[in-house]
Symmetry: C2
Subunit: 365 residues, 2 copies
């Protein structure tokens, strides 16, 4: 249990005049208590791992499948064993702790749970506190940045391995499987997300899935991947050349690299994410092609996508302790796609690249 984190959560109770906060989001549960659930466990875990924090108590709920785990991973928390759904079990606890106003995560709890809980606990008012929880994790401590850096270092090592491993004729899926094998045998807790491995024209899909399409000479090979270490994530994209690629592909790769560098150079405490996005976008449009439709970048930590968001539509002031991706791209549907993505930590002394693989074009095969 981190006393400092809990203190910030309790300060939120004061600011919002709440008696307690119910924490449901996986990453928030882990942030405050240490309790871990895998990304795919949500649907079957019920509300095990949920936290209730009042001014003088810190409770963790778990059904019989998770009590042992809660005891081990969240040692400072009072364990409440549950056997039924939240609307059946929580109201008694709220009564016992005299919770008249409860903050909860409306964007995470289902409407069914929320409304059943509201009906079953008529003495407790429910208030959404999602927006107030977001900034709590946006500023990282040195230890958190260190964990992200270790995930990034493993990602760099994986990239080196892939450059040796990939050969024309392999399928996208084979490459995805190999990178997962690497992460899982080299100490990662898991993947940060389903890896994107796309060859040739398929690389134009910003969000494609690896297929059984073979990688051919003349293709680009876009690899967007990351792992988690102690819960903290990495996220990196490189676009390789398989054999000789057309000249305009090389030119686009240069443009994306320069666009990314222009954005990175402008990173500073107080800078606006919108302005960084504009700088990258401008450089790409100078090539006479459309810039990426997605945002320039996203915060990263216990979740692969978290605050801040660096994009055209939202102003965002960068602060010391923020860690985020910078990932411009060019996508020509049916033709090719190029993206370069790195993770940057903004420290008191300036921006620091946490992913360090070369951004120079690499030709394989």
């Amino acid at each position: 249990m981190s006393d400092e984190r809990l203190a910030r959560l309790r300060a939120l109770l004061d600011a919002r005049l709440l008696d307690a906060a119910l924490v449901s989001r996986n990453a928030n549960r882990r942030y405050f208590s240490g309790f871990r659930l895998g990304d795919a466990e949500g649907p079957t875990s019920g509300w095990s791992g949920s936290l209730l924090v009042t001014r003088d108590a810190a409770l963790i709920f778990a059904d019989s499948r998770y009590t042992e785990q809660a005891r081990q991973q969240a040692p400072g928390w009072e364990l409440v064993a549950t056997t039924g759904p939240i609307a059946m079990e929580l109201p008694g606890v709220l009564l016992r702790h005299e919770v008249a106003s409860l903050g909860a995560e409306a964007a995470v709890m289902s409407h069914a749970d929320w409304s059943a809980l509201a009906a079953a606990a008529p003495g407790t008012e429910l208030h959404a506190i999602d927006a107030e929880l977001v900034p709590l994790r946006a500023i990282k401590t040195t230890a958190e940045i260190d964990a992200i850096e270790r995930a990034c270092a493993l990602t760099d090592a994986c990239f080196d391995h892939l450059v040796e491993f990939v050969e024309p004729g392999m399928t996208e899926e084979m490459v995805a499987l190999e990178l997962e094998r690497f992460f899982r045998t080299q100490g990662a807790e898991g993947l940060a997300f389903e890896p994107i491995v796309l060859a040739g024209p398929r690389a134009a899909m910003p969000h494609g899935r690896p297929s059984d399409a073979p990688i051919e000479r003349g293709n680009v090979l876009l690899i967007d991947f990351g792992c988690s270490v102690d819960g903290y994530r990495s996220d990196m994209t490189r676009t390789l050349f398989v054999g000789d690629v057309p000249d305009d592909v090389r030119r686009y790769h240069d443009a994306v690299r320069e666009a990314q560098q222009a954005a990175i150079d402008a990173i500073a405490i107080g800078a606006n994410g919108q302005d960084l996005d504009a700088l990258a976008r401008e450089r790409i449009e100078r090539e006479g092609v459309a810039a990426y439709e997605h945002g320039l970048g996203h915060g990263i930590g216990l979740e692969t996508h978290e605050a801040p968001s660096l994009r055209r539509s939202v102003a965002s002031a960068l602060e010391a302790g923020m860690v985020f991706s910078v990932e411009p791209g060019i996508y020509l549907p049916g033709v090719t796609g190029i993206r370069i993505e790195d993770i940057v930590a903004l420290t008191a002394s300036g921006p620091q690249l946490l992913t360090r693989s070369t951004r120079e074009p690499i030709a394989i095969g």
Copy 2:
């Protein structure tokens, strides 16, 4: 697009006096439209892939990352490109289609989305239809049972491979990684769930995660695993003996096997899941040990856990077309754990085992 499935959804509109249904649950989206999302994609996909079905229209929503995929996977559906959150974009569509009453999945939609949508579409009443959607997928067609059978056959093949592969000294994680490699290189779409591989006393955790604990002689090795083929899942558990195991472990294994067989023998159209559970439980308690705390079994299909639920606390009448697991176990905390799980399809001519690996004790190493 399956016209028959859509017709059943529209019959639900009639029964509930609704103008339209909004389908949000991944498995339901795929069931009606064919649109696929990976298990871990939920958090980043927004509401892409959501369906709106009125009496004369069938719409699929997708942001720019998913429009191409929606076109390919849901060809009969009218694609609506989105750029913002559901509460911003859906109200206009509801107006255009004159939807005064909308059925939606309250257990899937977040409370934030539900309440923002309700506020932004004051002319549309929202009604929860989760309970009415559940039975739609519970009765499988021959084609669906065939897909589950293919997933089960791949799981049997994987088990044969593991029996050859596993050796004392390997870690639980190595076995988990190998079974994933097998599935992904042998044609599975993915894993049905994070595999459970637990050695020795760790097998007493019905829900443990593979660790770096080595598998030792004298241990049991409990492997609970499954894959998906064309979206349909498998789920099987076997408990291996590593070298010589104590006599009582052998006796418990026999008891679990007989408990499972007693339940399987009682499967019939109209049988009650509660009674099956009681039969298995009785056989285990005859050994003088506590029976499993979890249910006897769960339906399986596009989700690993779906209707029906076979458990002590809920009456459930089995119907032709249902496919479900039968998985009794014995768990002795700190000592050992044994579970045997198979998938059964209940057809018009009786129960049919879809997983076919031997349930006789197997000793390895």
